[in-house]
């Protein structure tokens, strides 16, 4: 973990600029390259943001859960911290999904929320679970218990995430939400190009944010430790 503290700021700035460039180009590509879907108008272009962000929001809790499981096995500070950071990022990306989804839904379905859709309901459950995770964590006193109980909630968040993934696969979904984008026999080449570039860019963005959050957490924990020692 110490390696996070010895990376030189110049490299960090370079990576930041690279990520910014990737995201800008992904946005430009999704706005200019793929053809407009006439029934939905321009709003369908939010697809190139919504789906990559939703993917990260769905497997973020699973990565967090893996760290939590390892924490429960080995009880190492780093594993709890990683689990916490990935939950933070999952919540951030989930907020992106919650805001972009209704914009797309309004243009595609005519309503901002489809109450019959299993995917929408299950995603809200995941979103609420992630919020509960942070509130609960902040309300716990003792540090070892705080980490164990947070690990427990991380596991439940991962269950919610898997249920959200399965909501359009395991049961007949009466709602409007489209099925998996990978299971429809492929996309048009322009759409596929923009889509996969967006997926790549948002994953790099996710990794960059993970780096920043881990570093921030290490610095914060060091500061708290020093403060406690002084007291």
């Amino acid at each position: 973990m110490r390696m996070f503290l010895i990376v030189r700021p110049i490299w960090e700035s370079a990576v930041f600029l690279l990520v910014l460039g990737l995201l800008s180009y992904a946005t430009f590509l999704s706005l200019s390259k793929p053809p407009v879907i006439l029934e939905q108008g321009l709003a369908h272009r939010i697809f190139y943001f919504h789906v990559p962000v939703a993917w990260v929001a769905l497997y973020g809790p699973i990565v967090s859960c893996l760290c939590a499981l390892f924490y429960l096995g080995y009880r190492k500070y780093e594993l709890d911290m990683l689990s916490f950071v990935f939950s933070q990022l999952s919540l951030l990306f989930a907020i992106g999904v919650i805001f972009s989804g209704p914009i797309w839904a309004k243009s595609a379905w005519g309503v901002v929320w489809d109450e019959t859709d299993a995917r929408l309901q299950s995603f809200v459950v995941l979103f609420l679970t992630l919020i509960s995770y942070f509130i609960f964590r902040s309300l716990l006193f003792a540090s070892p218990k705080k980490k164990s109980f947070s690990a427990m909630l991380s596991i439940f968040s991962a269950v919610s995430s898997i249920l959200t993934w399965g909501a359009i696969r395991w049961i007949d979904n009466p709602g409007n939400h489209p099925g998996s984008v990978l299971g429809k026999g492929g996309m048009q080449s322009e759409i596929a190009e923009s889509f996969w570039f967006s997926v790549f860019s948002y994953h790099i963005f996710f990794l960059f944010l993970a780096y920043v959050a881990i570093k921030a957490q290490i610095i914060l924990d060091h500061w708290l430790e020093k403060k406690e020692n002084l007291l």
Binding site: S122, S132, L139, F141, A151, L153, V159, S160, W170
Partner: protein, 233 residues
């Protein structure tokens, strides 16, 4: 022996008098009446509507029952005392059994009342839906008990329990309502299988996680019966 003692203790706490069950039934009846009066007539309501009302009530009941059952023990510090004598698995299972029996009794009453008020006349359907509702209450109670015990360690305990219990119970609620509707309407056994898998999974997950995160012995060494030094000065 320990399990029997724990079960007996929980049974005495909750079911020693008919008052808790009668109170819960009265609350349920009040809610059913609110739905009955406010919903659009004429009856009978569509099957999905009646089933949704029953599931809402089970959800509500589960929340009240768990909250009340754990409240007294938490306030008096009895949870910590119990942990010094019984394992987490024993505490969890005995609470689950007792609360499930209590909730099943109330669900039976709810089924009876909804059948009369909403003119649901098929006895076979009523029995099927009673079975699914009582089965569905197992994971709801498991989640409630697990988070009730965990939230005893946090600040704002009354706030934390619903915060944890409600979002995580929602998948069970959604799938249970859907399964019941499908079983009654089409005899869909795949949905039932999926629901039973979810029940087993949630209950086992709660038990295992509770044992891992809380099953490390008593909180305070003073309460540890094996600690012989506690009496010394």
């Amino acid at each position: 022996m320990k399990f029997r003692n724990s079960l007996r203790k929980d049974f005495l706490l909750l079911l020693h008098s008919p008052i808790p069950i009668v109170s819960l039934f009265t609350v349920s009846l009040t809610v059913i009446l609110i739905f009955f009066i406010s919903l659009e007539k004429p009856f009978p309501l569509p099957l999905a509507g009646v089933r949704s009302i029953s599931w809402c009530l089970v959800f509500l009941l589960n929340f009240i029952l768990v909250g009340q059952a754990l409240y007294e023990e938490r306030e008096l510090g009895a949870i910590q005392i119990n942990r010094s004598s019984y394992g987490m698995t024993t505490i969890f299972i005995s609470k689950l059994v007792v609360l499930w029996v209590g909730e099943s009794l109330v669900i039976f009453g709810i089924q009876l009342v909804t059948a009369i008020l909403f003119q649901e006349q098929s006895l076979e359907n009523s029995l099927r839906s009673f079975c699914i509702l009582t089965l569905g209450s197992i994971p709801l109670l498991s989640l409630g008990i697990a988070f009730g015990l965990v939230s005893a360690e946090a600040r704002y305990q009354e706030l934390v329990l619903p915060l944890l219990q409600i979002p995580l119970s929602l998948p069970v609620f959604f799938l249970g309502r859907e399964t019941e509707f499908r079983v009654l309407q089409r005899g869909d056994l795949y949905g039932l299988f999926l629901f039973l898998s979810l029940i087993v999974f949630y209950t086992a997950l709660c038990l295992v996680l509770l044992e891992i995160v809380m099953g490390k012995g008593p909180i305070s060494p003073v309460l540890d019966p094996k600690n012989t030094k506690t009496g010394e000065k």
